[in-house]
Amino acid sequence: MSTATTHGHAHDHHDDHHGPAKGLMRWVTTTNHKDIGTLYLVFALVMLFVGGAMALIIRLELFQPGLQFVNPDFFNQMTTMHALIMVFGMIMPAFVGFANWMIPMMIGAPDMALPRLNNWSFWILPFASGILVSTLFMDGGGPAGGWTLYPPLVLQTGNAFPFAIFAVHLLGMSSIMGAINIIVTIMNMRAPGMTLLKMPLFVWTWLITAYLLIGAMPVLAGGVTMLLTDQFFGTSFFSAAGGGDPVLFQHIFWFFGHPEVYIIILPAFGIVSQIIPTFSRKPLFGYDSMVYATASIGFLSYIVWAHHMFTVGMPLAGMMFFMLSTMLIAIPTGVKVFNWLSTMWRGSLTFETPMLFAIGFLFLFTIGGFSGLMLAITPADFQYHDTYFVVAHFHYVLVPGALFGALGGAYYWLPKWTGHMYDETLGKVHFWMSAIFVNVTFFPQHFLGLAGMPRRIPDYATQFADWNMVSSIGAFGFGFAQLLFVYVVIKCVRGGKPATAEVWDNPEGLEWTVPSPAPYHTFDEAPVIK
């Protein structure tokens, strides 16, 4: 596509009204990548608190042994919904929001390639999430069989069952459309001279993520559709009594589920790869290896899925294969960590809030990586599997991993989005509270799991009481710390020290060549990259 000509034309056409429409309809009808990016980010922030409230109900019940606040069935609804909301309603939309805002600005494009699709893929989300949350009020309650939706248990869900499946379909559709838009944009709308290996790493990680989404989400859609027909149309895909196989669903789910893990973390890798060079005042070390490592992780993510299922009774050869392939993931992940470290090496470091979150990410994500390596060792996994050790592991990669990536990215680009500097002091307080409480919450869960506490239980034997109490205290601290983030964002949107175009100290990237706040339309004339 010849970007320059097309957009020269568009520019003439819209000369008379540059700004957005006013009022509510601006947000409903918008096709502007910045507006849609904002919608995604605000939506994700709201869902962070919805999913977070559910997490706090879980931690409240687990504060001490015995059942004080909720019944076991509602507890299971909370664990199930917390995961579904956080994965599909919070962290994935958050990163699509970053993609919308930043990819066009980073590659010198005026907008996303498919603006109406963009609008649709966002507006599906509130309805899908609304349906999902509404299942809590239906007869029989919300889905309570875990976010993995394993049959036969999930088929015991009440009236909520078809609604939950439909919501998962819609959320998946939204993700697939977002992914298509991102691929088409990156492949066709780069400014002249922006070759693939000149793209910022955030763009690269999102390109690979988008391919993972297109590969994985339809598999999930197929799996849940088979659940639906098993329940309502007399099929027996997953029912042993009818000649089906309950384990087949687990294979389908994790064939989606493992790429999903990288769908969540790769954009965070990308954001961290933008932040660390800026505050080290040095280019990203080993850019090419970073790209290749990301691609390797993407490939490996498709051949490791059954490490989530070591206890289902696989053949020995199957366990061997999935143990060894899973261990391989440590290699490209290690390459990334060492390259980030080398980027800081002999740099000139300053510690603004985005950098603090990136460094927090670097340390704490790596801890999650280590426990991941431990979980890969099949015989040891027989002990770790379905205990709090697993809960600790994936929360370390998702919270101080993916979520810290998103929070760091928000601080990094907030001045570009709003035109104001955020409150640095409050930002730092937010970081330190988050970093301390996230460890208080999740580190003791390693101990609980190793000592024998299964996951997904509403009540526990009394020897687990102490660390559960510590973990619950941490969870409430972490939750309240995020309210501070909301305050910082609102304060920054309302005003603050005006931000310069560059915002930071000589950062690299096209987004820093446009004024802050970024004008409603950027790069009407494609920039030329040398």
Binding site: I331, R346, L349, S371, T378, D386, P454, R456, A461
Partner: protein
């Protein structure tokens, strides 16, 4: 279960070393609960050949990760201190890539992983070897209890949560869980097995997925309707060992414990004969 039962030998000294190593960051981060119990920080060594093997692998990979972590985090910490702009550090912008470095930090992890694979793979083969077992027990998971069948003996029993735990676990029951002995880890009738015998178990489920787990045996295997999975354990030390269902199975998932009572062979034979007698009487009638 995690609390070593009275007959279990006390944990090896290396376990205490690890416990303190693990506890240190926790101390700094969280403050230690008043009644700290070191055995609650790490995996139990357990009482079966498999569990000792699993424990050793766990400790090996934990130490490998710890050593890598010390090196990596040490380098990061050094960078954060040494290359601060406020201390006058100037960025070396020519330092952008190094093929040699990339090769080094690819090859070293490969070597470590190959070493680890050679440790784990033979252990896995031994763990999966159910041959030469002397008796077979069939375990069936139900919502929410276990059934144990002594195959070819005509003896079977159901095992569900003990009455005192069941009363105390109700919402706002008004009973302090700490006043109930082995809260949530006690059953009405335990599985009874002989000591020093290789026992093969077959496991399936009647309704939804369950998983049978005894940490001291390091066995965890899913119970799946339509499947019969198998595994084995051999306990030389008589005692009572506790575990729980480890696969979400509905509202009372947290309330279907596993209790295994390991008794000397002679005692087991007597117990089995006694169990058979009423069954034989019932059959005669």
């Amino acid at each position: 279960m995690p609390h070593p039962n009275p007959t279990t030998p006390s944990p090896a000294p290396r376990r205490a070393t690890l416990a303190s190593a693990l506890a240190l960051p926790a101390l700094l981060l969280a403050g230690l609960p008043a009644r700290a119990d070191w055995s609650l920080l790490n995996m139990p060594v357990g009482v079966t050949p498999v569990s000792r093997e699993v424990y050793d692998l766990h400790m090996l990979i934990l130490w490998i990760c710890t050593i890598i972590a010390v090196a990596t985090f040490g380098a990061m910490a050094y960078a954060l201190v040494a290359f601060r702009k406020s201390k006058g550090a100037v960025a070396d912008t020519n330092m952008t890539h190094s093929t040699a470095a990339e090769i080094i930090w690819t090859v070293i992890p490969v070597v470590i992983l190959v070493f680890m694979a050679f440790q784990a793979a033979p252990a896995l083969i031994r763990i999966e070897d159910t041959r030469n077992s002397e008796m077979t027990i069939k375990i069936t998971g139900y919502q929410w209890k276990w059934e144990y069948e002594y195959l070819n003996e005509g003896v079977s029993l159901f095992s569900s949560l003990a009455a005192d735990s069941n009363a105390a676990r109700r919402k706002n029951a008004g009973i302090d869980p700490r006043s109930v002995e082995n809260y949530l880890l006690e059953v009405d009738e335990p599985l009874v097995v002989p000591a020093g015998v290789k026992i093969r178990y077959l496991i399936t489920a009647n309704d939804v997925l369950h998983a049978w787990w005894v940490p001291d045996f390091a066995v965890k295997r899913d119970a799946i309707p339509g499947y019969v999975n198998e595994g084995w354990f051999q306990v030389d030390e008589p005692g009572i060992y506790r575990g729980q269902c480890a696969e979400l199975c509905g509202k009372d998932h947290g309330f279907m414990p596993v209790v295994v009572k390991v008794v000397p062979k002679a005692e087991f034979d007597a117990w089995l004969a006694a169990r058979k007698a009423p069954a034989a009487v019932a059959a005669a009638n």
